[in-house]
Amino acid sequence: MKALRNWFDKQKPHLEKGGKFHLFKSGFEAIEVFMFVPNHTTKQGTHIRDYVDLKRTMTVVIVALIPALLFGMYNIGYQHYIATGQQLSFLPVFGFGFLKVLPIIIVSYVVGLGIEIAAAQMRGHEVNEGYLVTGMLIPMVLPVTTPLWMVAIAVAFSVIFAKEVFGGTGMNIWNPALVARAFLFFAYPSQMSGDSVWISMGDKAIIDGFSGATPLSQAAAAAAKPMAEVASNHGITYSLMDMFLGFIPGSIGETSKLAILIGAVILLITRIGGWKIMLSTILGGLFMATILNIFAVNSYMAVPAWQHLIMGGFAFGAVFMVTDPVSGAQTNRGKWIYGFLIGVFGIMIRVVNPAYPEGMMLAILIMNMFAPLIDYYVVQGNIKRRMKRAIVKA
């Protein structure tokens, strides 16, 4: 450890302005602070500082994502083996998924961090930790069949246009991971929806009778038929247990509600994800779905409200996307409104709008845009209380 520390100290002069390797200063420092918490001491203000820093926070979020990611890998293999009619056994199934997902993660991190480090070098500041989470979220919200070059383009677009142009981590308006997904969704729609994108086939052929449709697209398809003709469970052929555990087609990380729940517990225990925002999103979703139930004119609208929570990306969005502290509402009251409206819009788009099979991504992006407005009114409320006090006294 000492030797490594000395090595870092020795290289430092070369990276200063005028040094041979000044161009790599930000990248070098990023690696250095990754290896060692720096020896900075407090200069003014408080003499002690909490041990937590942004690196720690982001690490915890990644830990919370791991259950969903691991299950996602397994499920990719599982869906492949089912679709091709092969025998299931754990290692090959997981191994298949692992080898499909890993390249996407690597592309996401290499491209994203590369751009972040270059931007930091250009601006002459440190590399921010925000991308550690974004880089993990992007693969998890994509279909496994997304070509790697598309992943690279989407990551580049999102890091540059959703984040760095606004000033980097902490300054962005939209959730960068969702911007990457939305970019692909609108630029390459055939790759992002439909029944064939969710399952990686490899070189095998699909067996007869396997559709690959997600519960959402099944429910949407059933909605076109008269209500009386729709089979039980609103046209969805998957069991509720499969939808909860995640043995259904879908984006890599979104299928298992159980794994997402574990992630949610980690976020709540460490107090990194706010319970207010998660709860209000779920309440909003239930509220909208209940209204749709009451006025149901097709089978989709009649899907029980709670069942929406285990379909599609609602749970993943509510736990990992809505809780993004930068793009979401930042005041406590604002969080209630923000989360609730995401839940409402998410279900509304999902059920009522035939053009989009899933509404969570768009609902969150819309509300990202309105979050500052919500906060503005909450802040105005605080100001009004203060002003009123002054007038009463006077």
Partner: protein, 450 residues
């Protein structure tokens, strides 16, 4: 029974090194210093030169813009040095003490028999006046102001703070005399803030005051929080605040006619051998006090508490307003993968380290490492959890960074000073310099208001 206000938000940092309840007498330090930097916004004009003989209470310098406010020598002796910094700014006026123990003579009279103007004159003349701070802004009070009330917090909730019940147990008479003098300075009330967890033997017996009792974690003992809970400051209003030891100094002034700068201070912190109380003096050199009493070499010595105090070097001096000295380990070390380790032994209110599973009564050694680099604001609701005020701290800080005077005013800058937001700075994941940003905003505000 007095009113009880329960504050929920805040944080009692589990830091090691609380002072034990026993008092040690030590010999008087050889040198004393008055530092203009202890007083926000002061531009000092010297009235002494090196070599001048002074008594306790002899003016050393005065405020260029308010010449009636004088800053005096805490002891008798000789001005031995005037240390200057950049652009000849005065850093310290140092007085080498003699054995004579002389004081200037001031009026010795029961303040109840004196007029408000006479009390003001005496306080100004004796140099105790700067102990009266004014809110908004936490600056030395303007003698011409009419404060709507005077607030005094009778307990210190900050980390490792002295227990005022113990410190002032023999000062009942000086305390009441000081309160009597202060009550002539305002047409409003004198508000005392007491803690539910303390005995408050002296304070609860005080006559002529309004008592409010507070429960809850730090910063419940901060006078700013108490003002906000009892009668928040609005635009155009002025409230005066004092520290307890200064009320007692005022009491002693009228009881004895002397400037008596002695005070009991706490020497606390994990690096102190046997943390406890010492009989000490305002502005005294700390070198004698610290010698032989510090366990390690590589330490941070702080005049004041670990959240708001001033770092001093080994032969530094006790600050004008300070009643404690904290000593913690210095944090100038690298830690390999420190951010990734489980952190069973790392105290953190954030729950991201496993130490949160441990006992809430366990005390930890905390050092001066920043534990990370400064970043942009990312997390929300961190500051709000440790600030028991109806204020949105992040929005206030952003208004200050944008230098938006109107927004600063609307978001409540009149109600806070650095110490009130100190915990926000401690818990901040992004390592933002909350206190220095706030002071910058306050200074801009003062400039704007003229």
């Amino acid at each position: 029974m007095s009113k009880v206000i329960k504050l929920k938000k805040g944080l009692d940092i589990q830091i090691k090194g609380e002072p034990a309840n026993n008092l040690e007498h030590i010999s008087k330090p050889e040198t004393f210093a008055i530092k203009p930097a202890d007083f926000q916004g002061l531009v000092p004009k010297l009235t002494v030169a090196v070599g001048d003989k002074v008594k306790a209470g002899t003016p050393l310098f005065f405020d260029k813009y308010q010449p009636e406010i004088q800053y005096v020598s805490p002891v008798s002796g000789e001005v031995s040095a005037i240390n200057r910094g950049e652009r000849r700014r005065i850093l310290e006026v140092i007085v080498k003490t003699d054995s004579a123990n002389l004081s200037e003579d001031f009026l010795q009279e029961n303040p109840q028999n004196l007029t408000s103007d006479l009390i003001k004159t005496e306080l100004l003349k004796s140099g105790i006046w700067p102990a009266i701070k004014s809110r908004p802004f936490g600056i030395v009070a303007h003698p011409a102001d009419q404060p709507k009330a005077i607030f005094i917090s009778c307990f210190d909730s900050s980390p490792l703070a002295p227990d005022y019940d113990f410190v002032f147990k023999d000062e009942a008479i000086a305390w009441q005399t000081g309160i009597d003098a202060l009550s002539k300075l305002t047409k409003g009330k004198i508000n005392l803030g007491l803690s539910v967890n303390k005995e408050n033997k002296i304070f609860s017996q005080t006559k002529g005051v309004e008592i409010t009792t507070f429960s809850g974690p730090h910063p419940a003992g901060n006078v700013g929080i108490q003002i906000h809970a009892v009668s928040p400051i609005n635009k155009g209003e002025v409230v005066w605040t004092l520290m307890l030891q200064d009320v007692i100094m005022i009491g002693r002034l009228f009881l004895t006619g002397k400037y008596d700068s002695s005070r009991i201070i706490a020497l606390s912190g994990s690096e102190v051998k046997e943390p406890r109380y010492f009989q000490f003096w305002q502005g005294g050199s700390l070198s004698g006090l610290l010698k032989e009493r510090i366990a390690k070499k590589n330490v941070r010595i702080i005049s004041g508490n670990v959240l708001t105090g001033t770092a001093v070097i080994n032969d530094g001096f006790l600050g004008f307003y300070d009643t404690m000295v904290s000593v913690i380990p210095d944090g100038n070390y690298y830690e390999m993968f420190g951010w990734a380790l489980p952190g069973f032994g790392k105290y953190s209110p954030s729950h991201t380290f496993f130490s949160w599973l441990g006992s809430k009564r366990k005390k930890y050694i905390l050092d001066s490492n920043t534990h990370g680099e400064e970043r942009a604001f990312v997390l929300s609701d961190e500051y709000e959890k440790v600030l028991p005020m109806d204020i949105l701290p992040v929005y206030l800080l952003k208004a200050i960074l944008a230098n938006d005077i109107d927004a600063m005013e609307q978001l409540g800058i009149y109600e806070v000073i650095e110490e009130d937001l100190a915990l926000c700075e401690y818990v901040c994941t992004s390592k933002i310099m909350v206190q220095s940003i706030l002071r910058k905003g306050i200074n801009n505000m003062i400039k704007e208001l003229g």
